[in-house]
Symmetry: C2
Subunit: 668 residues, 2 copies
Amino acid sequence: MATFDKILTAKAIHIGKLAAQATTAAGSGHPSTALSLATITAVLMYHVMRWDPADPANAGSDRLVLSEGHAVPIIYAACADLGVTIYPGAVGHTTAEKADGPGKRMTVDDLLTLRDIKSPIDGHPNPMMGFPFFDAATGSLGQGLSVAGGLGAAARVDKHNKVIYCIIGDGESREGQIWEAMDFIADQKLSNVVAIFNCNEIAQSDYVAAAQTADALQKKAEAFGWKAINVDGHDPTALVNALKQRTEAMVAGKPLCLIARTVKGWGAASQQGLGHHGHPIPEKDLASVLKELDATAEELGAAGISADESKKVLKIHPPLPAPAKPQAGKLITLAQAAEKAKLTDALVTKKKLSPRRAFGLALDALGDANPNVVGLDADVKNSTFAQDFAKDHPSHYFECRIAEQNMVSVAAGLASGHKIPFASTFGKFFSRAFDQIEMAIIGGSNIKLVGTHIGVTLAADGPSQMAITDVAILRAIGHATDHRGKPAITVLTPCDAVSAYAMVLAMAEWPSAVYLRALRADTGIVYGESETFEFGKFKVVKKGTGGGKGKKLTIATSGYLVHTVLKAAPKFEQAGIDLTLVDAYSLPFAADELLALAEGGPILTVEDNYTGGIGSEVAEAAAKTGKVKVDSLFIRNLPKSGKTPEDVLEFVHLGEADILAKAKSLVG
Amino acid sequence: MATFDKILTAKAIHIGKLAAQATTAAGSGHPSTALSLATITAVLMYHVMRWDPADPANAGSDRLVLSEGHAVPIIYAACADLGVTIYPGAVGHTTAEKADGPGKRMTVDDLLTLRDIKSPIDGHPNPMMGFPFFDAATGSLGQGLSVAGGLGAAARVDKHNKVIYCIIGDGESREGQIWEAMDFIADQKLSNVVAIFNCNEIAQSDYVAAAQTADALQKKAEAFGWKAINVDGHDPTALVNALKQRTEAMVAGKPLCLIARTVKGWGAASQQGLGHHGHPIPEKDLASVLKELDATAEELGAAGISADESKKVLKIHPPLPAPAKPQAGKLITLAQAAEKAKLTDALVTKKKLSPRRAFGLALDALGDANPNVVGLDADVKNSTFAQDFAKDHPSHYFECRIAEQNMVSVAAGLASGHKIPFASTFGKFFSRAFDQIEMAIIGGSNIKLVGTHIGVTLAADGPSQMAITDVAILRAIGHATDHRGKPAITVLTPCDAVSAYAMVLAMAEWPSAVYLRALRADTGIVYGESETFEFGKFKVVKKGTGGGKGKKLTIATSGYLVHTVLKAAPKFEQAGIDLTLVDAYSLPFAADELLALAEGGPILTVEDNYTGGIGSEVAEAAAKTGKVKVDSLFIRNLPKSGKTPEDVLEFVHLGEADILAKAKSLVG
């Protein structure tokens, strides 16, 4: 064995032993997977990557995304060995201030706190727990390569030469999202991304399928337009040489991937074969496993390397200079944006413009003013109107085609790469990426999502295209506080073009994740252009007249139904109801303030989605008082196609007559 | 052109014209996509498939899954031409009884009701709106091939020789789930499934990417282990011959796919090229487009075919005899199941067994007794304990590997194939398949999902593995009534092995979708073995003593936290609280009955998930009365790893002390 190989292998054994110790100390974790990655980790972190252990988040450094997050003990082990800076003060923080507390250089003692409630060394990679070496939370499998694609896309926008390495499990490569990412990276010619498939042949409950063997993965990668090199994942020189072929592949316009043949439980025969996945080594067996690893070092001629000798060979290359951070300029108004797009007639004269069209205008305006804003869409840019941005800012637009999971995780990567990513598609299609959205939030990625064609008012296309489950799940997550002290995600449903435009601009400034729901329909203009829309608040669209003129009722609704109720206002008056109409455009929102507004009178919530939105929000606040009456209308039967929004609203019992009848019964 | 080709092409033109007329009448839809499939549809529905237009759901017939659901007008057109039986009475039904109303033979008049609110001809395929030719609701792209895989798997269980055809868009094949399905079908050697890629080269907003051209798709399909034939999608004889190669491919152990080169807007040059996707032909242009289509027929020598001539050649082969419907036998008890699995010590002596272990026992017991029950798992069967079933019932078990989206849609297909599919994985990983779950529900598939390792009490693995968003979204859907008059999905969270076992057995009998959440932890036994657990109800685990002995408080919780509160019961007593503890194991549930139980006293809900579960359910019911005080504890900050459930519960402010403090403040 050449000196380089010996020293690298010795390091691999060393961090492998540390990983074994850490998981035994934790009483859980995946040492056998970690060992399969020992050599690859040593090659990347001690030799190939250009980075700074003292400043692991340095924006000029190469990045490593560990898609198979359960292998993380091997990375932690290397970090403990290298004294990577960690932030124990960030654990359990709820505000950005605390998260920025003092760092410390990681030690083996820190490593042995793996998975402890007070430790930044979480069970799976999570930068927000004080471990900024990582850019993304991983562990829910199949998502890392997309994140790496996003980091690569951000580097391209920055014209920066960093390289993003991504390690993927062979079993994990069964996830379709991996192949969405393979398509995306090849399509975008992001040759700054290198995928490494860890082919240890054993998944959790069985050997991998024939479809996930090294040979099969190589064929697939080639069919997906990648240069794929089949390499011994425990041969340092072979790995280094394979990685060097990135530049060659780049010339051919292909990204590079390594099909790295590895051994699960490498170096310790007792940990190999089936039945070891996710099992830490029992304390009583640890010493003998460590001996096995030492024996492997001996056998490979990698024993007895002095620290000096190791240091001489293993020099980590420093990061490249960090990319510049461009400043945002001044934004144009909606009127100006409409003029630019020749929509003044619709906006000013006809006073009808869809919120999705306003999103398109706002995104394009953001693109004009803020070089940090990037756009992504999933082949519906002519429906979401992300097309304006795509046309005007091609270097900042990433067409994701029909692959929403990849799009969301790419957005997460772009956010980690210091961009402000707006990802748009039909709201319905974000529902296949809820896991990806949650993982992005866990990892602290400041993503901006815009789901269009929401609600049953989409009408003609039917339920396969209607976003009606999104409100419940994202409001639920939004009631958790994220690492910045903000709602983990804010859900916005503007009812008109003015509010949509204003909210999209505000999204770019907001420090945390936001999901905006943009109606398909051309809706009337409700607000004056100077109106502002604070997240977490609501607007009073129509204030009751008070003074005993009818029975007091407050209706809280959003989106299309604001118009439905507004149009029906005279009928409420005829029915002797003194109506206050609230546009509850934000979730979560200050429901207490709504209770105050209602002054003890009944509240009716009306929603074009399944339950779990405004109705739950208001009922929860009201029930805390035990004094306010709240009733709710929402979708209570599975919808279908209809030719008009009204047809389908009636079908799901949300028509004007339904609302009026419920209102009467509530005040009566 | 040979006579066969002429007659088939004439039919293709005929149904193409009908599809154009239908979308124009609807004022929306996708005529250009429909035209690209005209020839393929004619070949399949008039010649290749063995089926009965009078009885389109016949269990002995070949099946067609239209994954690219927006192309459906061409299928509707063929059905109108063939007089396929439809059920207009099923539209808007909310009970199974109404759905079974009288059918009628579809006419062109019916076709022209496309997308109308009263029409069974929905915007995208939906069997539950009275159109049983289809087995699944499609339109949210990428899911159909998995459904076809499920139908193929069901046929294999039945030892039935039907063939399942699945049509996939080329743009759609960007969805990762397509490749999950390609892997699954190849792995399982389901050569009764035939995939047809409709390569018309145009997606919605642009041409398809290089990665989705016919050549690229062929290479990919081959790399995924399929026999892929590149064929002219408008050449009837070529299509028929290509489809005949299925038997040959089968011998080689490979499934067959066709890479069918088609023309978007086939037959009408004015509808070809970019910019026509999803645009119906304006009424004023319809006549000229129909003329274009007639001219194409002329040009291809397919004009002037008499009805007699056509009928003589286009004979539809009848269905095969339907498979037998095997009957279920008697189920063993939990005690018997535990004995069989050598778990009597845990269950009876130690009285500690995890709900996930009980799921494993129950699924195996179901497998012993009911030949209709099938199992699916995503490479975690040794964690979910689906492994008992997999081992004992290999012909009824389908290992799905790490690909959850495919698993859920395969389950939907199995349900459509008259099986009772139990799909299991970590609850967290179902969150990437929420769209698939919703589509299965829309399509009426009676799926049974079991998510294990739920809640932050999973502890050591951290948030990437914790199911805490599932409750909100699935409760929300569950508040909609499905076509059988049941909650569209019922969410169950058993707190012990007895209730878990009972609920899993009950799931198999329940007519609608169910999602059971099974704890990882070995929890104590709360219930006697004879206890029953009605869906939509709750259990009183501890009844307050009443009679003024302390301040009345009702706590509603579920899962792990039932034990937390139960254990703390003496502390509540010491604090002067007369505690009633409710196990709210089902969502939705009869919250009114809980209010009655509380007798006007305050209610505290406690949940190991984000908001949107029990707390919302009870608050909504309470707020309707405007009289009952309800406060709630749920996860309000992003969780992390911890070594014990208690560590993480404390981290998210759900520890015993938090509950006690909240209880005191609520009664104080």
